[in-house]
Amino acid sequence: MNGLPKMVLSGAKSPDPAGDGLTRRRFLQSGASLSTAAWLGSLPQLAHAANTDDYKALVCVFLMGGNDHHNTLVPYDATNYSLYQKARADVALPQDSLLPLLNDTPLPYGLRFGLNNTMQGMQTLFNQGQMAVLLNVGPLYAPTTLADYQGRAAWLPPKLFSHNDQQAIWQTGALEGHHNGWGGDLADEVYGRNTEAGFSCISLQGNSVFLAGDQTSGYGMGDDGVTRIQGSNAGKDWMFGGFEVSTVLTDLISTPSTHPMQQAYCAVTQKAIRAEKTLSAALAGEPELATAFDASNSLASQLKMVAKLIRIRQKLGMQRQVFFVALGGFDTHDGLLSTHGPLIGKVSSALASFYQATVELGVASQVTTFTASDFGRTLSCNGNGSDHGWGSHHFILGGAVKGKAFYGTAPQMGLGTPNDTGQGRLLPSTSVDQYAATLARWFGVPETQLGHVAPHLVNFTQKDLGFMV
């Protein structure tokens, strides 16, 4: 998400709300390399082909629709629970159902947090020290007070509370339509370290702007594995009564024409054909993972595929990878109690299996998984659900995470607090930029390049939130 003008606090300009005007510059900088070049031409920097296992992966788990953080992480101490219960009314969880988190360092206001009772897996991970919680994080371009918000300060992120735009801001730092995400930016910074650079960024959830960088574009695959185009084995695939069609098919479907939409479509097809051959070869003969994943849980199936891809990292010569997985259904305007628990339970179960798989593969400390979502939600209830908010709580998981602890600033519980922009929509106290920069530093992005990944970091004092070793 670089390319956004660095914001000057005293200035009245908000940073590039239209989200335009940056790709052009980055194209100029990068010599306008189209991403397919990496796939079709010579592979860059083969010298780095990894015998040593210098490997790190970041896995973004996106909760589509805006996770209700208030019913994910719930205060269970008497004082704060009663504030919670009063504000949440009909959608409050029972106090005795919560799964306590045993942090060593106490939180202010006497806050003790527990998890939704569907989240046993994540409770265990937290209490065993592999998971941390980042409190009240959200899009911010600069430190912002409630007075700034109410006075409509110039530097507020635009289009708050809108799903698609807040998803985009979480993923790119700019509005929908912006072309670069910070997952892609991260991969750009370490691009040369991967032999099969086209697998630097992999999405299990279709096209994701999070994974789009200048050199990297996300490679899309399904949780069912790699799909081979029937007929792509030229002259060897039998179809329509002979080999004649497969003889021409690859040429036919992957030759660029002059139309830019056809070119873009062909670029995807080319990648699909080449990547399938590479991945199928690398995956062949790999045994099943011993770790069990719930086959009825879409997020678990996606993370299982990620684990399988991590296992073949050395065959592909990968040193740094960014993955994107997602689960939908979090827009709980309605039926919050009946839908949210099972849904966040799926996240918990999937993350627990995935962490176990990284242990099985011996890469637990090399893989960091983190959650993100459109926004948090209102604390007050709209009858049987909650509405769009802003700040939210998120989870970071992995052997390199300083777990069993809370990071960021705990917001005061209840309505009408200093962080309440209305109905308990939290004004974030920590920026997504700080979140991204902390992960980027661990990933190996040099200090001088952090601004590329997190352009607003310059406006915040705390550059590293401290949750990574």
């Binding site: 194209f27 306008a32 096209n207 399904g222 003889t247 305007h333 709209n382 509405d387």
Partner: protein, 611 residues
Amino acid sequence: MTEHLNEGMNPPISTHETSAVTDCPRHSPVRLAPPFLQQVGLWSLAGMALTACGGGGNAGPATSPTPSGPGTPTLPNTPTTPTTPDTPSPPSPPAPTRIEASRFLQQAAFGGNDADLSRVQQLGLSGWIDAQQALPVAVTGWDWLMQQGYNSSDYRFSDQPMNAMMWHETMAQPDVLRKRVAVALSELFVVSARQSIGEMTSFNMAHYWDLLNQYALGSFRDLLEKISTCPAMGYYLNSLGSRKDDPKTGRKPDENYARELLQLFTIGLVELNPDGTARLRNGQPIETYRNEDVMGLARVFTGYDLDDRVFDTPERPEVTRVPMALFPNRHSMLAKSFLGLTIPANTEGSASLKLALDHIFRHANIAPFVSRHLIQRLITSNPTPAYVGRMSAVFNDDGHGVRGNLGALIKAILLDPEARLVPDQQPAHYGKLREPMLRLTQWARTFGATSADGRFAAGGTYSSRWSIGQGFLQAPSVFGFFRPSYTPPNSLLAQNQQVAPELQLCDENTVSKYINFMRQLVPVGLRKHDDWPTVVIKPDYAQELALAGKPAELLARLNLLLCANQLSARTLSLMTTALTRMKSTGTDWQANRVHAAIFMVMVCPDYMVQR
């Protein structure tokens, strides 16, 4: 927005095209030289007069959102009557060629067969549109589900009857213009059966689809009111069951419908000029609303729930096709303030709804917002601001002082000079990627695919694991299948700040799945939803089979019908080579050649973009 080809950045093959466009006068004098978008004003000089409906031209600089007055008449609900105003006819153009007819049917319908092309030639484009607008809805989707016996508790939460209904609607009904526009509207006012839509999900969805059809060529204002009170929408965006503020518990009205009505359905997030470009203040876009506006509008949509006065059973699911009822004691009687309007306290529900929708309908953004959406769905992803501006003018006034006449708007969109640019005249990025579900429908329409038992009980296609990743009325969220501003990263399109929304559906997984799907589909047809080997929607390739021995003629026919002669010489040559080498003896050789030819055309990049 500046759009121009940047020669220095093009890959070699595009540089060639660019120089050809710039330097080579091989085309007719009306050819538009780049930068295309700055030159559209020359159209009138080139003798490409606007159609009668499209008159009004490019509106001047916008002012702040300007009401067109509360007295603006809206259309009566007469969906079976032509709603196009009888404007003076321009001098009648020459009959369209078969290529033009085919191209037109891909924009205005789902493609067509020989007879469909002939009909367009016979009536002319304008006459064909008029004839289509006069066609009644033969049978509503809801009634069809009843006729087929889906009114049973077996189907309570199933979307399968809806899939069958949509195959029947899009593949077998004669009012194709209405159907194509209704599909486009279903991608604006998204309700999706990816989640259950109440009890009797398919009937709820069918009624919603019927409303889109009923008003697709009628009044936008009436359509807004119908969808705002339709149970399917109530379920999807939670206005069903939303209640007034409760100061005791702190309960607030549900904001979901209010927010998406503004953001996605009508005015969008930033103020627009009539030509669809963003209005700027101090160089920055101006947001149309704040959360306070959403909270104010949310009060308007309180008090609605299923109409409990209606007798309703799975065998007779009437409640799915009557508007939600307003329960006055649950409706907010507080003042409702949004977008500069305050509906006074103690205004009852139905009056509040009318005032609110009238106010939204008067917003200056609606015309460019809706026009641009429909142009993108039917014609081209990157319309010029001038094209959007001409359509905004028609939306604002159809020539008879009527605002929001969708029939007039659709006719203007289809007959606009920019829609009618033939390939030689088009800028390099013109057109749109064909949506996977529309490719499938085109296959059915072109080859007369039918369901022998009339039930069209084929499976849905939304799964990107098992199918093509897109299905009618099954978007993944209220944001639809793709966003209007999507551009593939690291592409020439991104570089030129052009969009290709449909490409958001295309990743390595889905492009592969589509090809494999077509390989299965073309030889046999669409399979039954719950019985994989059984094929229920079968094509008729009789005319193609007659050409199996003449590959060049076979391909010429497919080239015309499927993509209005867009296949390049190179593509045709590759296909001809493959077909000519295929066997010309044995039992299935004709069928194999025909299947191979259709398959190759429908997966090749030249076909993929509707130009």
